[in-house]
Point group: C2
Chain length 397, copies 2
Amino acid sequence: MLSISQRGAAMPASPIRKLVPYAEAAKQRGTRVYHLNIGQPDIETPPQVLDAVRHSDFKVLEYSHSAGNESYRRKLVQYYHSVGVEVNHQQIIVTTGGSEAILFGFMACLDAGDEVIIPEPFYANYNGFAVAAGVTVVPVTAQIDTGFALPPIAEFEKLITPRTRAIVICNPNNPTGYLYSRAELESLKELVVRHGLYLFSDEAYREFSYTGELLSVLHLQGADEHLVVMDTISKRYSACGARLGALVTKNQAVLDAAMKFAQARLSPPSFAQIAGEAAIDLPADYFEGTKAEYQRRRDLVVRRLNEMPGVYCPNPGGAFYAMARLPIDDSDAFCQWLLEHFSYQGATVMLAPATGFYGTPGLGKQEVRLAYVLNLEALDAAMDCLAEALKVYPGRR
Amino acid sequence: MLSISQRGAAMPASPIRKLVPYAEAAKQRGTRVYHLNIGQPDIETPPQVLDAVRHSDFKVLEYSHSAGNESYRRKLVQYYHSVGVEVNHQQIIVTTGGSEAILFGFMACLDAGDEVIIPEPFYANYNGFAVAAGVTVVPVTAQIDTGFALPPIAEFEKLITPRTRAIVICNPNNPTGYLYSRAELESLKELVVRHGLYLFSDEAYREFSYTGELLSVLHLQGADEHLVVMDTISKRYSACGARLGALVTKNQAVLDAAMKFAQARLSPPSFAQIAGEAAIDLPADYFEGTKAEYQRRRDLVVRRLNEMPGVYCPNPGGAFYAMARLPIDDSDAFCQWLLEHFSYQGATVMLAPATGFYGTPGLGKQEVRLAYVLNLEALDAAMDCLAEALKVYPGRR
């Protein structure tokens, strides 16, 4: 009889969503809420990017090529060249956000019942795409005490079964901000080659690398067939609402299979491709400004966190997230309490409990993720709130 | 070892795509190609819709709500009210094109191994979404001699198994242009209620109804839990490149499940929602102009086709497609021959072989689909080409 699908039931709800009603109630009480819970930057989208859309003069808003406009793909070739990645326009499928690149990668490479190994904590929506594709996520735990470095390769090896098909990384990492080193990427490459696996690399935050070189898995040599990059302009140009990403690989069979999924949904959004094409022509120093701003924010947040008694926050090398260990009983309860029962100078802070980023039940109860997507003044005030909150939280340990 | 997924291999390629290289070669030889093969209208997108985007003045291109901007959903409530459908904004999930509405509907309601019954010929991409969801499409054949009317309910009943979960219709129909009557929709409603099935209704062409009343399955009474509408602005406002659609249902469990898939992909495109919102404010007579234009085109194409010896084309009641039976051996071979070996007064015509729209192997070999998306003059010239081609085609029967 009439019921939703098992996968619809198994599909995880957003781990942050359950806190939204508490945030809304806090605002209705007149409390200011500092949103450090989501990766929506306050950085302005470059005017040149928005103006390209605003000054467009076509008459019919047509479908584009299913792989994206060839003119945009050729521009992307230039962009990848500028970051040291040599691909041609036929090795790029333009997608509706990085989300669709993840979905196409999973659909093209993985079958129901297959397993993917993902270092945890990881971007919670990988769970969603895994459920959509019928794939099992097998977590391998990264430790806050090593700054969330890549777990030892031996830990990956232990988890490989005949159903393992891929390893998924996000670099620089959401939610930890960890920037994988070239040595770590090389060790992953050797692992996937040795075991005949795919290495999916979500590089949404590629430009936001503060402590090391900007690295893509496509810089790795001798493993082209194994490497699939999921990319997006959302964070790079503060253009999350464009919904424009790309799947990039030199594996022709994967391109051919992904292309069939791309054809089924007809085309990626046309307005966004105009914006994306203009973005490639931004001045070469565009990222320096945004990177410097994010680095100042990171420095502030990490310093303030580590000054709080009992708090530990490793210094993230990239992206715009920090994971902190707090002296609390339960991060879900704490984040809800912050919204429901706490305010300091008329304000409180919304954080993401880390439990939503772990696949292993029970992990993340002392950790929260902070997205430093607000200006320095707001971040400083948010840190004041958190410091005061930790003094009075009933579940403090 | 490294290989693509079975579902990637099973995924059907676009049935028209294999003809594209022949069309490109024809153009390189200097032959004009009349494209009646795809549903990309030449009708201009209403300037008010494009101007809303061009005159927007936000600074940050942000994610929207995962269900779409509330302001847009409230506008859509007005739109649905204007076509006699009463829903509230929480019964609408804004999607990235009608394509994503189909995907979310399938994912939320169907599991791998489940079956959906679809009257054939049907929109070929349903196959793609079915493969993505692991679902089996069971075709029930509509006959050209009845104008592709709904097959008798008894034919559906014969195909229902314990794994049958849904019936999918497209109304008005792509590829046949058939407009289901109220009586046909009522009989489908009784069927899905009796067997505990979903009725998915793709209503992309809702406004393009020439011979009868504009009907949505949401006009049906007493079956709210069973009815899921997949909608899009692509054809309605000639805005295919926006990639903006909607899943509409009064079934709360389906909404809740679909919403989790919507959250995983974060949000639908933001530019498109600005366009979509402006479209609701178009003058009430906007559709009269486009409908009258399409009706003139339909009348021309159907008359010209039926004047050709051995050709039969039922008069479609809606959408902008016609299916014609031609005196030919094989529609795939014929459509390729038109591009590869034929021209008349420097031009030829690109058609869609009907084989791609049937699930039953062997059907559609004498049929082609024509999209009347060009102006009257071009359509007339295209019909001249087709008439001449049928006189000389070596595979004529």
